[in-house]
């Protein structure tokens, strides 16, 4: 019984939110743009922009005489990276990052494996709290806490002396390069602090990747004759590798860029982050600082390419 008068009448007023929904439903691209616009702008301008500004800086150089930046394109600054003292810094940092990453992975894997395979309910909640708890307190405080733990008068030394292992400690501290006056003034100390600091960033991705390996896949491997060790090597590990790689990206790049931990705990020799800090600050050599900053980016790029070549992401 719809007559012409009702058809011509204005559509009853709908709720505004409903109309917005309809409007966006017909224009899905607009919705995506609205959702991603602000973050994209942020990433584009603030993040990529500053990265590009930094890259540009690295192609300038500094006038050794006046200390002024010369705004002319040159590879001179990059060439400076290959001076023995600078090369030392790079090599030292990369070796440290490698050691930290490998050790972190070795410690994190069993923990992550337990959490993913066996823990459930309460135990799993405890696991998450235990892993995340250190992140709730200040990074600086934790590093200083480690300085106290590792110091000659610290709790670690006290424990070592109580159990009569001081000769072992002295032997370790007497080692060339990695030794030092005390643990808190040696590479060993820096190493321990780094491993501690970045461990959560290794555990969580590995745990996430292990969690995604279905139990039937492990059963299937056993069913096909594989002993648990073979199942681990042929099935579990390959499927967990993306998680290990993700975790190692964190630990590796965080170690490459950190400039506080090695300053508080460790020998006085510089790491990459410290070099950047020194050159952009007191030395006022922004181009060299920028060139130093490019090093971790290149190292990570090489690392990812190699990982991909080795098939680390095949299971993704």
């Amino acid at each position: 019984m719809m007559d012409a008068s009702t058809a011509g009448a204005p559509v009853p007023r709908e709720r505004l939110s409903l109309r917005i929904s309809d409007f966006l439903f017909e224009r899905p691209r607009l919705l995506i743009l609205l959702l991603l616009g602000a973050p994209l702008l942020w990433i584009g301008v603030v993040y990529v922009g500053s990265l590009l500004a930094m890259l540009t800086q690295s192609f300038f150089s500094i006038d050794e005489f006046t200390g002024q930046v010369v705004y002319e394109f040159t590879f001179k600054t990059y060439a400076q990276l290959f001076r023995p003292s600078n090369l030392d810094i790079i090599v030292r940092t990369v070796i440290m990052a490698t050691c930290v990453t490998i050790t972190g992975a070795l410690i994190a894997f069993p923990i992550a494996y337990y959490a993913a395979r066996y823990a459930s309910g309460r135990v799993k909640a405890l696991f998450y709290i235990a892993v995340m708890l250190p992140l709730w307190s200040s990074y600086l405080v934790r590093v200083y806490a480690w300085k106290l733990i590792l110091a000659n008068e610290g709790v670690l030394n006290w424990g070592v002396e109580q159990v009569g292992l001081s000769p072992v400690r002295d032997a370790i501290l007497a080692l060339p390069v990695i030794g030092g006056a005390s643990l808190s003034f040696s590479y060993i100390g820096t190493f321990l602090v780094f491993v501690y600091l970045w461990l959560p960033f290794m555990i969580l991705p590995i745990q996430a990747s292990l969690e995604r390996v279905p139990l039937t896949m492990i059963e299937a491997s056993g069913d096909l004759g594989a002993r648990p060790r073979q199942t681990f090597r042929k099935v579990v590990l390959p499927l967990a590798i993306p998680g290990v790689v993700a975790g190692s990206i964190f630990t590796f790049s965080l170690t490459l860029g950190d400039y506080i931990a090695p300053q508080i705990v460790g020998s006085s020799r510089l790491f990459l982050g410290q070099a950047v800090y020194v050159y952009q600050g007191t030395a006022g050599n922004l181009p060299l600082a920028a060139a130093f900053s490019v090093v971790p980016i290149l190292v990570m790029a090489v690392y990812l390419v190699v990982a991909k070549r080795l098939g680390a992401f095949n299971a993704l």
Binding site: E219, S221, G222, D223, L224, Q230, K234, G311, N314
Partner: protein, 361 residues
Amino acid sequence: MSRSAVSEAPIDEEESPVADAGAASRREAVRFVGVTRQFGDVRAVDGVDLRVRAGEFFGMLGPSGSGKTTCLRLIAGFEQPNAGHIEIFDEAAEGIPPYRRAVNTVFQDYALFPHMNVLDNVAYGPMIRGVAKAKRHAEAREMLRLVKLEGFETRQPAALSGGQRQRVALARALVNQPKVLLLDEPLGALDLKLREQMQVELKALQRELGITFIFVTHDQGEALSMSDRVAVFDQGRVVQIGTPDEVYERPRTRFVADFVGSANILEPSLCERIGAPTGLWSLRPEKIVLAETGPADAHGAVIVNGVVRNVLYQGATRRLLVDVEGQTLSVVAPATTTAVESGDPVRLRWHANDMFRMIDE
């Protein structure tokens, strides 16, 4: 009414003394003696006795949670029994881990390794056994040919359809030449047409290879059409073992009659009316015919009058619900029965031998 004498029908027809002589000579692939598997307070498998003969296609049928999958996992070695004894080809299986058993499984979700291509998936078993690459790839290719998946060697599992994945899982299990192949709901994830096709292919494959196949299903049609023998599970127990037609024609309990196909359970009043001894009688709907025509009293014929309450169109057949003596009987009639409508009086006829007396549990 000769069958009315069977008051205690055996779960497994083979166990009755008469049939035993013939069975003793055949090898047993799997034997369960009083096997129980508990999860906490729940008895998933509760005192199961089973004998699976070498070379047969054995179906384990039951609703979800009836213990059939746990039985399969007990054979595979993923579970260990809390009580009882399991033998696989006369060797005790308790405490033997899955990787030491000459048994392979096709998993319900196929469980293909996502980081390997099809060929490496199939060659996994031989690789674990240390077979050289060229040889194991040749074996895997041969298996892929057997399951009609030639040309898929370099595909990743993610790039396959459900049916193809299942074939890969099948090839991956069979390449190890297992003594027993276990299939967990093998056709569950496939669509209807593919399922029917795979039923035929699986059956043919089993004949060709002569390997004992044990499969789990909740689909009674699948169990009846594929198995040489079926074990019907209910609440952790085996309630009946037999050939598909034994299980279908002579259901031992009300549960079996209901779960395998559909059945009319005759009420005591109706039994009295037709002169059957008291007890629990089942009658398959397709055994009942409309008797307005035809000979009225062939020997052993039972004839009752009723009123059609409902007619359900089912394509090839029609299901009539007929009220008889205060009970509703389900009748499957050919689709050509078009004259009957609800409210019509009808005469129903069946043969007394088509009624089967069950155990009251």
